[in-house]
């Protein structure tokens, strides 16, 4: 190194070539805002109408920055908790995990990033309220492709359509352990579903137990307020899945199948008893008589027995389960499954008197006098007839009666061409059962397929099995031969007319569009009704019946304070889970009533 390094002294001076050049300084700042990039993670924005208040953002936030709060003007309703997120910007790190897990996609981050104040308490930020115009400045969003929610359900393994019609083997095969864990881990545990469940089952808790591998805890949680969960796991109408937070943009979590998975791990009644390990209170000497061993009666009986009551059920048929036993075909709900659950209920001390019809084998008065309280879960044992010409022909029957007879093991002659009238689950069941006896089956329904009240899975299943559906057909007449046997059904085609009152569109028959369908049997599946002939006159006045149903208060109590009622004979929803909810509510009310 020389004393004077010429190159080393002159080279740095080349920096002077920058002199006079336009600087790259952003001169407008801070007077003008610089637009952030299209993906910038700035302040939050929330679409308040789209948000359902599931609180998933609040759960994922690792900084505990997001609170769920009540906002003025936003009320909770079914499928919406009524809460909305508020971000503490004194915690937020703008990682946008809240956006990535938002099931509805309502939460997003915006391009705004300047938030300067002197007041440290002013950093609570309610997205959507504090920046109502944020929608235009959205930058970091989570669309369906980017969301961390798993929007696709694990498909349920099923028998093939061709295989199914050969026997009454169960169609749905059930998840295996890995499938169940995967499906359970899709749940975000918000609990919005529990509100619409008539029985308010602890859905997030048991799904979480399944996801974390604790099936036994799941079973225990499920049995907390439902003694027939395996039945529900197979055939429930599952309104919970309609409001599932994940369902806002994808398939709902298969709540029903997960319940089914959990309860099936308890394979026998004894095993169920061992897992649930119910705490049975000491007998308190009080007695409850229950009429009907359907879901509501069994539920009330089970929880009353747990509370130390002496419970006796009177059942007209040879088996317990009511409509779930006799109304649901065995390919949906195998008899062994129901036997297991009823065996478990009996194992904790519930007594069931089979083949004892109240009003015939024992009078209502006798029961009323013998027990401290009476619960009636009598259901709808009868079905509406079709009510058209030729209704009385041989081979014209009610689908509900048909299912009863098949389930009771009787033989019914239906020939080889069956027409089922109606669009509910009973119609589909009757159709699919008839298919299993080799008949060609047609379903005739007044409205469009989309209007059918039956489960879409059932409708699809029926189509897979080769059931033919004729929508928009109004039956007018049943044709019969000389011997009085059904030969066909005549119907009018219908068009859909918008309802003036804003209701759903009505079918209106088109004149002159008569068509005749050949048939050897016609089944009406247009509704059921109650049979209250067992009630003596003196009680009928006290226990009011309106529009074919018992009138009860919110505690399932009828006009006679000693008599409670539940199930199809009370509620309008006519499904098993409502009946179970009635039974559970009645149990609590009876407990309260008798403890006074």
């Amino acid at each position: 190194m020389s004393f004077f390094d010429l190159q080393g002294t002159l080279k740095p001076l080349t920096a002077l070539k920058q002199f006079g050049k336009k600087p790259h300084t952003l001169k407008d700042i801070p007077w003008k805002k610089r637009e952030a990039s299209d993906r910038y993670r700035g302040l939050h924005f929330n679409d308040l109408d789209e948000c359902i208040g599931c609180g998933n953002c609040s759960t994922i936030c690792q900084n505990a920055a997001i609170d769920m709060i009540h906002l003025e003007g936003i009320e909770g309703k079914k499928g919406d908790s009524g809460l909305r997120p508020r971000v503490d910007n004194g915690r937020c790190c703008w990682c946008a995990l809240c956006v990535e897990v938002c099931p509805t996609g309502s939460l997003s981050l915006t391009k705004d990033y300047i938030y300067v104040t002197e007041d440290p308490d002013a950093f609570l930020w309610t997205p959507g309220v504090d920046n109502p115009d944020g929608a235009e400045r959205k930058s970091f969003v989570s669309d369906k492709d980017h969301s961390l929610n798993d929007f696709n359900r694990i498909p349920m393994p099923e028998l093939e359509g061709k295989e199914r019609v050969k026997s009454f083997a169960e169609v749905v095969l059930g998840y295996n352990e890995q499938q169940a864990r995967e499906e359970a881990s899709r749940c975000i545990s918000c609990g919005i579903c529990t509100e619409v469940c008539p029985d308010h089952m602890h859905i997030p808790e048991y799904i979480n137990a399944i996801a974390s591998g604790n099936d036994k805890d799941a079973v225990k949680i499920i049995y907390d307020n439902n003694p027939l969960p395996e039945m529900c796991g197979k055939v429930c109408t599952r309104r919970c899945e309609d409001v599932c937070a994940i369902a806002t943009r994808g398939d709902s979590v298969a709540i029903r199948w997960l319940k089914r998975y959990a309860t099936e791990t308890a394979a026998t009644a004894d095993l169920t008893h061992e897992i649930v390990n119910p705490e049975i209170k000491e007998a308190n000497g009080k007695t409850v008589g229950i009429i009907g061993a359907g879901p509501s009666g069994l539920t009330a009986a089970y929880y009353l027995a747990l509370r130390g009551y002496d419970v006796t059920i009177y059942e007209a048929s040879a088996k317990a389960g009511g409509a779930t036993m006799y109304g649901i075909p065995k390919y949906r709900l195998p008899i062994e499954s129901l036997d297991k659950q009823i065996g478990y209920i009996q194992s904790i001390g519930v007594k069931i008197n089979f083949n004892t019809k109240v009003g015939k084998d024992i009078s209502f008065k006798e029961i009323y006098d013998k027990y401290d309280t009476v619960f009636m879960g009598v259901g709808f044992p009868d079905a509406w007839p079709l009510g058209v010409d030729g209704d009385d022909a041989k081979g014209s029957m009610q689908a509900f009666r048909y299912l009863y007879m098949i389930n009771a093991g009787d033989k019914v002659d239906i020939g080889d061409k069956v027409v089922v009238v109606g669009g509910g689950n009973v119609a589909i069941d009757a159709a699919r059962v008839s298919r299993r006896f080799g008949a060609e089956v047609t379903i005739l329904y007044r409205r469009r397929v989309a209007d059918m009240p039956a489960d879409w899975e059932e409708i699809e299943g029926a189509e897979d099995e080769g059931v033919h559906i004729i929508p928009q057909g109004i039956p007018t007449k049943i044709h019969k031969d000389d011997k009085g046997h059904v030969t066909g059904i005549e119907y009018l085609k219908a068009k859909m007319v918008a309802d003036d009152k804003g209701g759903r569109p009505r079918p209106v028959a088109i004149e002159g569009s008569e068509t005749i369908l050949e048939a050897t049997a016609v089944m009406a599946a247009i509704g059921q009704m109650g049979d209250y002939s067992f009630l003596p006159k003196e009680f009928e006045d006290k226990i009011k019946i309106e529009r074919g149903r018992f009138v009860v208060n919110e505690k399932q109590q009828t006009g006679d304070p000693k008599v409670f009622a539940g199930g199809d004979a009370v509620n309008r929803t006519a499904d098993a889970i409502s009946a179970i909810a009635d039974g559970f509510r009645a149990c609590k009310a009876i407990d309260e009533y008798l403890s006074k």
Partner: protein, 183 residues
């Protein structure tokens, strides 16, 4: 003649205006936020054109940037540095961490609320605040200096006992050994 109310006010206004345009920033990066100070100060954003420049020692500095979280160990030094600074002096809190703990709200070694230990004049939100936000915050500081509202230092003296009590809570041995004010 300079003691009457009006001329005092005029002098103060002029003083504040001058102060707001020559703010020397103490070069003490206390947390992550220091990373965005260098772009702010250098050619792209060039805060010097607004009157901000770095000062190497607390004695010459006007404003102290608390650029993010403060660990318990740093709080002690920061308090000491702050007390060394000459009035008028200001504190700017950067990022979520100074407001309510930010990401480190559950860390045993970082404080959550800066305003319990030092008087803060302006908060800049963000994690970290971009240089644009930093400049916005600094111009806010200029504005409140001009308005004469940046009186954090006076607040500190008024409530010295309270501040000291809070500081002592996290640093019992350290503050006890130290003189009370102005090192």
């Amino acid at each position: 003649m300079y003691n009457d109310k009006n001329s005092k006010k005029i002098v103060e206004t002029i003083q504040n205006w001058a102060r707001s345009h020559s703010i020397w920033v103490l070069a003490y990066g206390t947390g992550c936020g220091a990373i965005e100070i260098s772009p702010t100060m250098t050619s792209r954003y060039d805060a010097e054109r607004l009157g901000f420049r770095g000062a190497a020692t607390p004695r010459q500095a006007d404003v102290m940037l608390i650029t993010g979280y403060l660990t318990v160990k740093t709080v002690k030094r920061v308090v000491r540095v702050y007390e060394q600074m000459q009035s008028p002096k200001y504190v700017v809190g950067f990022g979520s961490c100074t407001i309510n703990g930010g990401m480190y709200y559950d860390s045993y070694n970082t404080i959550n609320l800066l305003d319990r230990y030092l008087p803060v004049d302006v908060y800049i939100n963000g994690c970290m605040p971009r240089p644009e936000a930093v400049l916005a915050g600094l111009s806010k500081l200029q504005q409140i200096i001009r308005e004469g509202n940046a009186n954090g230092a006076e607040k500190y003296l008024e409530n010295l006992a309270w501040y000291k009590e809070n500081q002592r809570k996290i640093a019992p041995n350290w503050i006890a050994k130290a003189p009370d004010l102005n090192w």
